[in-house]
C-alpha cells in the first residue's frame, strides 16, 4: 500500500506501523470518567467492511501519527490527516 503522507507525500506502507481504530484518540478523562468509559475505550472496536479511520505511525520517517481513512474491503485510501490535527479538531488540547 501507499500512504499519501500530508507532509512527505506518497510513502510505502512498510515505513509505517499500524495501531488501529482512530477512536483511540478519543480517550476519556482519567479523573472524571470511570471504568465503564475506559473499558469501552480500551476494548470495543467497530469492525466495518468499508471506510475505516485508523492510526498509522511513520516510524521509519518523520514519526508523525496519521489518521488514514482506508476502505477495508478495497484498501482504497481516501484521506490522510495528521493525527494531531484530528485530535485538536476533536477538542483535545493538553
Amino acid at each position: 500500500m501507499i500512504i499519501n503522507h500530508p507532509i512527505l507525500g506518497p510513502r510505502d506502507a512498510q515505513e509505517f506501523v499500524y495501531l488501529g481504530d482512530a477512536a483511540l484518540i478519543d480517550r476519556p478523562d482519567g479523573m472524571t470518567d470511570g471504568i465503564e468509559a475506559f473499558h469501552t475505550y480500551a476494548y470495543l472496536r467497530d469492525n466495518p467492511a468499508g471506510d475505516h479511520r485508523e492510526l498509522w505511525y511513520h516510524e521509519q520517517g518523520d514519526r508523525s501519527w496519521l489518521v488514514v481513512t482506508r476502505n477495508t474491503v478495497t484498501h482504497e485510501i481516501t484521506k490522510v490527516e495528521l493525527a494531531r490535527d484530528v485530535a485538536r479538531a476533536m477538542g483535545r488540547s493538553t
Binding site: R27, G34, A42, R84, R88, R92, T94
Partner: protein, 968 residues
C-alpha cells in the same frame, strides 16, 4: 542420440550445439531451446511421473502452465526440484533428473498406486486416515508425504545470491505478446516511463509460436523489430525472464527476474534472481491465454499435448512431437496446428473435429502414446496409430493478476471462457487474449488502446499493422462421454472426471468445496490448464451453467517462487540487522560470549582462561562485582530525551507515579502502565533541568515506548509543550557497580562525586577524563553502590578501556547479561520474566506506586475488580529447601501433597538464577496470595523437566534487603 524429431525453421541457433543430460543420458540441443523442446527433439517424451498415481507423463504445454514435465535441475547445492522443463532454458552442461519415481522413470514401483486407484479417489485422505487419532502424525503423515511428494531439495545451503529491488514507472506492461508490445510501443513513443516484463526469455509471446504475418513480415520478426525499437528508448526498461507474480495494492506489483537461471552459475557477484517491487501508476495486463484440454479416457499419456503447444514446438523450436500426428479439437484454433504441421512436412494423420461429431474416446501406450480410439458420429470406433496427439478445448484468458484483488471474472459465451470483468485492481487494464480478444489484430488494437487510455495520451499513436482477425469459432466439449476408465482434468494433481463426479455425488458442489475435496487446481500450476474444465464438468453434473457454478479466484504468485528469492539477502548472519554495543570490539577481543537481545548483540559473559563452564564465569563476575567493582554495558536500554515546559506534566500522565515533583539533579524509578491497567515497562527517569528529563526504558520496549509516547503527545494531548527524541544510540552507557564503584569513577569523572555531592539517586551532567561531556546517574540494578555513566557513543569503547586501566588497582570485572540477571534476581528487581504483559503493579508488589491523585495511562483500568484481588498473584522469592536441588523457570507452585493438576496451580516461577551468595538456585515467581505465604513451604513442579522440588517462599529481596550497600 540424435535430434530425430528436429524439423526445419525455428528460432534456435543451429550454429551452436549445447550438451545436456537427462537422468544421466547425454543429449544435444541448441541455444533457444528449452529443456522440453530439446528432449522432444531427441525423441524423449516421458519426462515425469504424476503426483498421486505415478502415471508416466510428458509435457502437456510449452509454457509456464505446465503440469507434468516437472524435473530437478542441476546437482549438489544448486539442485532445484519441481522446475518446469517447458520453461527451463537450455544451457551447455545442464543436468536434469526426473523425479517422483523409484527406481527409474521408466519403471516406477510407486506406479502400483495407479492399479489401486479406486482406493485413492477424491477425499480418500479424509475417509481413510481418520482413526485412530494417534496415527496422524506418526504413521499417516510420513507415509503420505513419502508417497505423494514431488522432487526433493538438496539440503545444502544455496550458494547463490538473491536480491530485492524497487522500480517505478508510469506504465507497467505485463506480457510481451502482440498486445503488450503494442502497449509498450505506444507508451514508449509517447515518452512515458515504461517497464515491459515477460516471463519468457524471448519476447513476442504467441507471435513466436505462430506463422502469422504482421504487416509484411513474419509475426516473430515484427516482434523482434518492436523489441529492438523499445531497446533504444531510454524511458523503456525491457525485462525478459521476468514474471510479474502479483498485483498488490495501489499499483504495487511483485516481479521475479531470473538473471542466472539460464546459466550454469550466475555471473560472479551477480544475483541469480531479483524480487522486484514495481510501483506503477498504471498497468496493462497482456498475459495472453492458456489452452485447455478435453478430457477423455487416458488423455494423459506422453505424446498427448495441447494443440497450441505442439504448434509452438514446431514453429518456434523446430520440433515435431511425433512422426504420426493427429489433432483433436472443438474449435478452429486447433485446425491451425494441423495446417502448420502439414506445412512443416509432418505426417498429419487425421483431424478429429468434435463439431463434426467425431471424438477420441481412449488411447494406448504405457510409456508413450501408440494409438488412439476414434468414435465417429455414428458411434463407429476405430483405432489409429499415432505417436502424438494435439488436443484443443479452447483458450482461457490468463485473468490471474486481474483477480488478485478478489475480482471475479465473467463468462463469455463467444469464446467459451471466463474473461475479466469491470472490477479488477484499480489502474490495471487488460488487453489482448488476456481480455478475451483472441485475434492478433484484436491484440494489437486493444494493446494500443489500453496504453492510450491508461496514460491519457492525446497525440498520434502508432498505426496498427495488418494482422489476422479471425473470429474464434468453438463449440464447447469438455469431456468425452465416459466409459470405465479415467479421464484427466487436472494432470498435476491427478484429478479425473470421476473425482469431480464423486464430489458432486457427495454434495461438494460449491467451487470452493470442489477444489478442496478433489485438490483440483491446488498444485504448483494453480490449475492453469485444468480449473475451467473441472468447473465445466461440475456444472454439467449439477445442471447449472458454468457462470452459475462460479470460479475460484487466483492468488499470488502467478507461478511458483523459490523461498530464496523471497528471502533475498535476509539469511544467515544477514537475516536481520545487528546492533552492536559500544563495548562490542573490546568484548570480542576478550572472546566474550554474546547473546541476541532483539537486534542487539550483548555480552552474555566474559570467560577467563581456565573457565570451562559458563557458570564459572558468571559466578566469578557476580562475586567480583559484589566484592570490588564490576562494569556492564547497558547502552541497549532505551533512552528518550524529553524536553518542554510540559515535560513534567507529560511524564505524570505516562507514568503511574509522579515525576513533576522530582527535583532537578535527581532520578526516580518509573512504572509505566498500558491503558488496560497492566504494566508495560519500567526504568529510571532523571530530571537534568527544569524542563529536561531523560527517560530510560527496558531494552525490549525501547522502540515501543517511544512510539507510545509519541502517540500520547500527538494524539491525546496535542497542545502539550513537550518534545521527544530517542537518544538510545547517541549515548554509550555503562553501569559501574560494587563497593569500589565510586573509587573507580573518581579516577574518571572530573567533578566531586562523593556521597554528599552525588547522593543516591542523583543525576547530572559531568565531564570525564579532562573535559569530555558525560552524564552520571547514581542508580543501581544490582543492589550495590552503583552509577551509570554515559558518554557520546563514539567514546564508549575508549571510556571502558580507560575505566579498566585507571581503576586497575580495584581489579574491575566486566560482567555480562547473565551476571546482571543474577544480581537483579538476588535484589528482587522485576525484568522480562515478570514484565510479561499480563501483570499488574499489584502483582509485582508495586501497587502503591500507582498514584490515584492524577490521570495517568492505565490508572483507571488498573482499579478493575479482576486486577485488584487481594488473593491474586504477588511477587515472591523462592529457594529450594535442599540447596542442591535445581529450580526451573516456568515451574508451577503447588501445595505440599497437592496433585499436579491445573486446578491446584498456585502460580509459577518467572525467573531463576544460581546465586553464588546464597549457594543455591533462587527464583522469583508469581504466587497466589503470595504476600501472606512468606516462610511457607510449597513445591515447584515442572512436569516437562521431571522436577518436583520442595521450596521455601521467601521475600524477593534475597540480598541486602535494607539497601545499605547501594546507599553506601
Amino acid at each position: 542420440m540424435t535430434q530425430s524429431n528436429r524439423i526445419s525453421g525455428g528460432q534456435i541457433d543451429r550454429g551452436q550445439t549445447l550438451r545436456f543430460t537427462f537422468d544421466g543420458q547425454g543429449f544435444t540441443g541448441h541455444p533457444g531451446d528449452t529443456l522440453a523442446s530439446a528432449l522432444l527433439a531427441n525423441g524423449v517424451r516421458l519426462m515425469g511421473r504424476s503426483f498421486k498415481y505415478h502415471r508416466p507423463r510428458g509435457p502437456l504445454t510449452a509454457g509456464s502452465e505446465e503440469p507434468n514435465a516437472l524435473v530437478e535441475l542441476r546437482s549438489g547445492a544448486r539442485r532445484e526440484p519441481n522446475t518446469r522443463a517447458t520453461v527451463a532454458e537450455l544451457f551447455d552442461g545442464l543436468e536434469a533428473t526426473s523425479q517422483n519415481r523409484w527406481p527409474s522413470l521408466r519403471f516406477d514401483a510407486m506406479a502400483v498406486n495407479d492399479r489401486l486407484s479406486s482406493f485413492f479417489a477424491a477425499g480418500f485422505y479424509y475417509k481413510t486416515f481418520m482413526w485412530p487419532r494417534s496415527f496422524w502424525e506418526k504413521l499417516y503423515e510420513p507415509i503420505i508425504r513419502r508417497a505423494a511428494g514431488l522432487g526433493s531439495v538438496s539440503r545444502e545451503e544455496d550458494p547463490d545470491l538473491y536480491d530485492k529491488g524497487f522500480l517505478h514507472c508510469d506504465l507497467l506492461v505485463i506480457g510481451a505478446g502482440p498486445a503488450g508490445l503494442m502497449a509498450a510501443l505506444t507508451a514508449g513513443r509517447a515518452g512515458a516511463r515504461v517497464i515491459l516484463a515477460d516471463e519468457d526469455f524471448r519476447m513476442g509471446g504467441r507471435l513466436n509460436a505462430e506463422t502469422f504475418t504482421i504487416g509484411q513480415v513474419a509475426g516473430a520478426d515484427w516482434a523482434a523489430g518492436v523489441v529492438t525499437e523499445l531497446a533504444t528508448m531510454p524511458n523503456v526498461r525491457l525485462m525478459p525472464r521476468t514474471t510479474v507474480i502479483g498485483a498488490f495494492d495501489h499499483g504495487i506489483h511483485g516481479a521475479v527476474e531470473r538473471l542466472g537461471d539460464h546459466l550454469a552459475e550466475p555471473a560472479a557477484g551477480k544475483p541469480r534472481q531479483i524480487l522486484w517491487r514495481i510501483y506503477a501508476r498504471r498497468s496493462v495486463l497482456a498475459g495472453g491465454a492458456t489452452e485447455r484440454p478435453i478430457a477423455f479416457e487416458n488423455n494423459d499419456r506422453p505424446g498427448i499435448m495441447l494443440a497450441g503447444a505442439m504448434r509452438a514446438y514446431a514453429n518456434r523450436w523446430a520440433v515435431t512431437a511425433g512422426q504420426r500426428v493427429a489433432v483433436f479439437t472443438n474449435n478452429d484454433d486447433g485446425l491451425r496446428t494441423a495446417a502448420d504441421l502439414r506445412a512443416k512436412g509432418v505426417d498429419l494423420v487425421e483431424v478429429i473435429d468434435s463439431r463434426k461429431g467425431d471424438m477420441i474416446v481412449d488411447s494406448r501406450g504405457r510409456l508413450g502414446l501408440k494409438s488412439v480410439t476414434v468414435q465417429d458420429s455414428k458411434g463407429q470406433r476405430r483405432d489409429i496409430t499415432v505417436d502424438a496427439l494435439a488436443v484443443s478445448g479452447g483458450w482461457n484468458p490468463n485473468v490471474n493478476l486481474y483477480s488478485h484483488h478478489r475480482a471475479r471474472p465473467v463468462w463469455d459465451d463467444t469464446i467459451v471462457a471466463f474473461v475479466p470483468g469491470a472490477d479488477g485492481p484499480p489502474g490495471l487494464t487488460v488487453a489482448g487474449a488476456a481480455a478475451g480478444v483472441l485475434s492478433t489484430h484484436g491484440a494489437l488494437r486493444t494493446g494500443r488502446d489500453a496504453a492510450i487510455a491508461a496514460l491519457g495520451l492525446t497525440g498520434a499513436a502508432p498505426d496498427l499493422p495488418e494482422a489476422e482477425d479471425a473470429t474464434p469459432r468453438i463449440t464447447p466439449l469438455w469431456h468425452v462421454p465416459q466409459g470405465k476408465g479415467r479421464a484427466w482434468i487436472d494432470q498435476q494433481n491427478d484429478v479425473t472426471v470421476k473425482d469431480v463426479k464423486l464430489a458432486a455425488q457427495e454434495n461438494f458442489i460449491s467451487v470452493e468445496h470442489l477444489k478442496r475435496y478433489t485438490t483440483l487446481g491446488m498444485a504448483t500450476d494453480q490449475g492453469k490448464t485444468g480449473n475451467v474444465l473441472g468447473l465445466a464438468v461440475m456444472a454439467e453434473l449439477t445442471g447449472r451453467s458454468i457462470p452459475q457454478t462460479g470460479t475460484t479466484i487466483y492468488r499470488p504468485p502467478y507461478t511458483p517462487v523459490a523461498m530464496g528469492t523471497l528471502a533475498g539477502r535476509s539469511r544467515g548472519a544477514e537475516f536481520k540487522p545487528v546492533r552492536m554495543t559500544p563495548s562490542h570490539h573490546w568484548a570480542r577481543e576478550q572472546c566474550a560470549v554474546f547473546v541476541e537481545v532483539g537486534n542487539w548483540l550483548r555480552t552474555q559473559w566474559v570467560p577467563k582462561d581456565g573457565e570451562t563452564e559458563w557458570r564459572q564465569s558468571v559466578d566469578r563476575e557476580v562475586l567480583a562485582t559484589r566484592r570490588s567493582v564490576g562494569i556492564c554495558d547497558v547502552t541497549t536500554l532505551g533512552k528518550i530525551d524529553i524536553q518542554g515546559t510540559d515535560a513534567g506534566a507529560f511524564l505524570d500522565r505516562v507514568y503511574a507515579n509522579t515525576f513533576s515533583t522530582l527535583k532537578v539533579g535527581k532520578c526516580r524509578y518509573g512504572l509505566m502502565l498500558r491503558e488496560d491497567g497492566l504494566v508495560y515497562d519500567d526504568g529510571t527517569t532523571a530530571r537534568l533541568a527544569e524542563h529536561e528529563y531523560v527517560m530510560t526504558t527496558t531494552t525490549a520496549n525501547a522502540v515501543g515506548v517511544f512510539r507510545h509516547l509519541e502517540f500520547c503527545r500527538q494524539c491525546l494531548w496535542p497542545d502539550m509543550d513537550v518534545q521527544l527524541i530517542s537518544t538510545t544510540e547517541a549515548w554509550a552507557q555503562f553501569s559501574v557497580a560494587g563497593p569500589n564503584a565510586r573509587n573507580l569513577l573518581e579516577k574518571i569523572v572530573d567533578q566531586d562525586i562523593s556521597d554528599a555531592a552525588f547522593p543516591y539517586m542523583g543525576a547530572g551532567n559531568v565531564t570525564v577524563c579532562g573535559g569530555l561531556r558525560a552524564r552520571l546517574f547514581r542508580i543501581s540494578f544490582s543492589g550495590e553502590l552503583a552509577f551509570e555513566i554515559a558518554v557520546p557513543t563514539r567514546y564508549g569503547d575508549a571510556l571502558l578501556r580507560e575505566m579498566l586501566a585507571r581503576g586497575a588497582e580495584y581489579d574491575p570485572v566486566v560482567y555480562g547479561t547473565e551476571a546482571l540477571g543474577v544480581m537483579r534476581v538476588e535484589k528482587g528487581h522485576v525484568a522480562g520474566g515478570e514484565l510479561n504483559g499480563q501483570s499488574t503493579a499489584l502483582n509485582m508488589g508495586l501497587g502503591k506506586m500507582v498514584s490515584q491523585k492524577k490521570d495517568s495511562i492505565g490508572r483507571v483500568l488498573s482499579t478493575r475488580e479482576g486486577l485488584t484481588d487481594p488473593e491474586g498473584y504477588r511477587l515472591v522469592g523462592v529457594r529450594p529447601v535442599d540447596p542442591a536441588a535445581r529450580l526451573t523457570a516456568g515451574s508451577h507452585f503447588l501445595d505440599i501433597g497437592a496433585a499436579a493438576v491445573a486446578a491446584n496451580d498456585a502460580g509459577w516461577l518467572t525467573s531463576k538464577v544460581y546465586s553464588p551468595h546464597i549457594g543455591s538456585d533462587i527464583a522469583l515467581g508469581y504466587l497466589k496470595a503470595g504476600a501472606g505465604r512468606i516462610g511457607q513451604r510449597m513445591r515447584a513442579v515442572n512436569l516437562l523437566a521431571g522436577q518436583d522440588t520442595e521450596v521455601e517462599i521467601v521475600s524477593p529481596h534475597f540480598f541486602d534487603p535494607e539497601g545499605e550497600r547501594l546507599r553506601g
